[in-house]
């Protein structure tokens, strides 16, 4: 459960506070670890009486329903992929969808969510008919299912936030109407009798099994009957093993207990299996006696199967194992992890206090020995604390797959809506990032993908004329690079014309006519405020959100956006992000008599700089670093700090994000430390260039520099201000 309840420890007079105060805008809503990121839960600000309890129940309902819907979304994706490539929908997936709809119906009914229950009821109905082969889903069915899940998610979100929205109930009613209208249309494939299957077998099958049988025959698979006997004590396990072995070889259509004579304490089964393998080959692969497997399309001795109960094997039981393994995760409110990290941070301070004590004891001969022991313990404690910290951080990490799956759905939707043939290729979905970053990455990535789909990929005719394949390609790639993760969206569309960007920028007064900008600098202008090279706004990508918002969002995460494009060949937008925001290795520096922390992920190198090593060029101060001219940012100037003696030696901290580098000039370097970055609370919490603050082991508070903001401000001075 992702609620914000918290206990005040006894003896702690101050009321409990969440680690992130509620005043930090925009506050991250409480979220379970594997909950889809678009459904925030809200703090139940109610007294601890009945309303609170029912509110708690309600949140529990929301979280459970979210889980179901998430699973349905995944299954729908799988179905859509299968349908797009002309493959048969995997029966296990259809069954799971059916069961999900069924659970959702039950759950919504229990919590008196009538519209949702009604919707789920219709979904269940449609899925049941599809599962039984009584109707086909087709494109329209998939779209309706997609829409239903999206709508159910939206209405849950409202429940979670306690913002009842009658328009959603109306939308659900409307959708239910459309589903009903669609599902009463005559089914495409009328049930035809299965040819060549013995009558007595057909009689023993449930409707679902029969439809599977028909489908298998239609696909040209053979039918085999496997006759096995197991001891009663262990038959469940043995049958399970057999089912698993068969999973790769074919499909078990029905498992029929057999009444044929068996040994004492034994139980016999007949498994009706559809497979592309001949009975003999099946027997060999399963390690069974050849006589135990025979073809079912030739008449079999009638008595054994005819008496089998019709509902002997319901599909839901066959997959019970899968459902079980799904629940092997724990959902945790991410703020609980923040709290844990806080504690780990405090542990670090105790550690240094222990160190100080050990030193003190070591000075006196009579306690020197104890001091050595104490120091040993401190070091062990150190190691364990570090492992603990790494463990907590690891728990926060989630694979980007969550976001990529969402993007795949977006592309699928766009394909239908826009009728454009675009393929989405995905690479590196296992790359892990901090949960909070992953969530905030959804919007920028959706925007980039929509943009590529809508604007970058040309219509088929234009592509053909340009000698490209008609099918456009969008590639999503993620990879870890040291302390950063790079996520890129690449398309093979029309590309960006740097000259067009330049003309537009001059028109808008963003740059002067004779400004010299590199290609990359020109492309970067696209992400400035209100800059668009297309005037018309299409429904797809024009939701009032421009590329400038992408940059802002990414920048808020301490990341940076980088564009590269070749006219006529395509565009690649790369987002470079830190792996986590929670805790970082930091370089401590001093400037103007104050200490600051710089996340080490943004630091490339440090070097001492003599006064003569800086150059002036066109009003910019530059540092020549092995032939490269880096823009210089003096921290003392940027932060209006009291300058120290100018004749002193200075140090350059080379900051880099992606392949953009800047030399930050500071007065001194002061070593490295782990830093838990905290948001600043107060009337002026957000200051450009400051990512937050951190408390060091010695109790002092240091500001943590926002590397991406400093790098941007030093490299993009020409942008709109």
């Amino acid at each position: 459960m992702a609620t914000r309840r918290r206990k005040t420890p006894p003896g702690d007079p101050r009321p409990a506070k969440p680690a992130r105060g509620p005043d930090v805008p925009p506050e991250k809503p409480a979220r379970g670890r594997d909950v889809s990121p678009d459904k925030p839960a809200r703090s139940p600000d109610v007294p601890p009486d009945k309303p609170a309890r029912s509110r708690k129940l309600q949140l529990e309902f929301v979280s459970e329903a979210e889980e179901i819907l998430e699973r349905m979304r995944d299954d729908l994706s799988t179905l859509a992929e299968a349908s797009a490539s002309g493959r048969e929908a995997a029966p296990a997936v259809v069954n799971q969808l059916f069961r999900s709809a069924h659970s959702l119906k039950g759950l919504s009914g229990m919590f008196e969510m009538a519209p949702l229950a009604e919707l789920a009821h219709h979904l269940e109905d449609v899925l049941d008919r599809f599962r039984l082969g009584r109707s086909t889903l087709g494109k329209q069915g998939l779209v309706l299912l997609d829409e239903s899940v999206a709508l159910a998610t939206a209405s849950l979100e409202k429940v979670g936030r306690e913002e009842p929205d009658p328009s959603l109930s109306e939308a659900i009613a409307d959708l239910v109407g459309r589903i009903a209208a669609w599902s009463t249309e005559p089914a495409a494939a009328a049930a035809a009798p299965a040819p060549g299957v013995p009558e007595h077998l057909l009689r023993a099958l449930t409707e679902y099994e029969e439809s599977r049988l028909r489908e298998s025959l239609r696909r040209g698979r053979g039918l085999a009957l496997i006759d096995v006997e197991f001891p009663i004590a262990s038959f469940e396990e043995s049958l399970g093993q057999l089912n698993r072995a068969l999973h790769d070889l074919g499909e078990v259509i029905s498992t029929l207990p057999s009444s044929a004579a068996s040994q004492e304490a034994g139980i016999r089964f007949e498994l009706l299996v559809a497979s592309e393998l001949a009975p003999a080959a099946l027997a060999e692969r399963l390690g069974l006696d050849a006589a135990a497997v025979r073809s079912a399309t030739t008449p079999a001795p009638p008595v054994e199967t005819a008496t089998a109960p019709a509902d002997a094997a319901h599909p839901s039981e066959a997959d019970a194992g899968t459902l079980k393994s799904l629940s092997n995760t724990v959902r945790v409110d991410i703020r609980k992890l923040d709290e844990l990290l806080n504690l780990v941070g405090e542990l670090a301070r105790e550690r240094s206090a222990l160190g100080a004590l050990a030193e003190q004891l070591a000075r006196q001969p009579e306690t020197a020995r104890a001091a050595a022991d104490l120091d040993k313990i401190r070091r062990t404690l150190d190691r364990k604390a570090q492992a603990l910290q790494a463990g907590v951080l690891d728990v926060r990490m989630v694979p980007l797959r969550q976001v990529f799956d969402k993007l795949a759905r977006v592309v699928r939707r766009l394909r239908i809506d826009l009728g454009k043939d675009v393929e989405l290729q995905i690479q590196g979905a296992d790359t892990e990032l901090d949960k909070l970053i992953v969530e905030d990455l959804v919007d920028p990535l959706v925007h980039l993908v929509r943009n590529a789909f809508d604007h970058a990929i040309e219509p088929a005719a234009e592509r053909r004329a340009a000698g490209k394949t008609e099918r456009g390609v969008i590639r999503l790639e993620a990879s870890q690079r040291g302390n950063d993760v790079a996520v890129s969206v690449t398309d093979d569309g029309r590309g960006i014309d740097p000259e067009a960007v330049r003309r537009r920028a001059v028109e808008r007064g963003v740059i002067a006519k004779d400004d010299v900008l590199t290609r990359k600098e020109l492309f970067a202008l696209l992400f400035g405020a209100g800059f668009s090279t297309r005037d018309e706004v299409s429904a797809t990508s024009g939701r009032g959100v421009g590329l400038d918002v992408v940059r802002e969002n990414v920048s808020a995460l301490g990341g940076i956006v980088d564009v590269d494009s070749t006219l006529g060949e395509g565009t690649r937008v790369t987002l470079t992000l830190p792996i986590t925001l929670a805790i970082v290795q930091a370089l401590l520096v001093t400037a103007g008599g104050q200490r600051f922390a710089i996340p080490l992920g943004g630091v490339r190198e440090t070097l001492a700089v003599g006064p003569g090593e800086l150059q002036q060029s066109a009003g910019r101060e530059l540092l020549n670093l092995r032939g490269d001219a880096l823009p210089v940012c003096r921290l003392v100037e940027a932060f209006a700090l009291a300058p120290v003696d100018a004749t002193q030696k200075q140090f350059a901290v080379v900051l880099g994000i992606g392949d953009v580098r800047v030399a930050l000039l500071v007065d001194g370097l002061d070593g490295q430390q782990d830093a838990v970055i905290k948001p600043v609370q107060g009337p002026v919490p957000n200051v450009r260039g400051v990512a937050g603050a951190t408390e060091l082991g010695d109790g002092s508070t240091l500001l943590v520099l926002d590397v991406s903001a400093l790098v941007e401000d030093s490299t993009r001075r020409r942008e709109t201000r």
Binding site: R4, R5, R6, T8, P13, R14, P15, A16, K17, A19, G21, P22, D23, S43, P44, D45, V46, P47, P48, A52, N342, G345, E346, Q594, A638, F639, A640, L641, V676, K678, P679, V680, Q681, G682, P683, V684, P685, V687, R688, G689, V690, G692, A693, T694, E695, G699, S700, T701, L702, L703
Partner: protein, 165 residues
Amino acid sequence: MSTAGFERWDRLARAAATAREGGDEAPRVELLQIEVAGAPYALPIERVREIVRLRPITPMPRVPELVLGVISLRGEVVQVLELARRLGAGGRAPAPGSRIVVLHGEEGPVVGLLVDAVTEVLRLPEDELREPHGDAADCVRAICRRGSRFVSVLDPDSVIQRVAA
């Protein structure tokens, strides 16, 4: 239970206790009296989270002058305002008795106010609070008389509001 919920109940309980003790007296208010630039002020006590001793304040760049900087409070980083400057008295060197009064974040941001001293907790009937004079600072909500002195009761929200602007 959420903090807001806790407080609501806490307040209710206190109100009930007051009613029992005071019978039919006017409702009482509780104020924390502080000293700023030689004058007495007061803050509604329910908005006060804690009072901490003066500690090193880390300056912040690019903020209005009256934001002195930040301090750490058990894992939280909180900005500290110079209340004297906010009340138009100009900056003052912190004295040994200086305290930081930390306000709750429920209705506004969590924030620390640097004051010269914390004097006492006042409990007085609500009807002793008077309209402030016209020339009082903008964030003074009411005044009350304590012996020969007039105490200005501050409205925490307006103390904070003007800062960001």
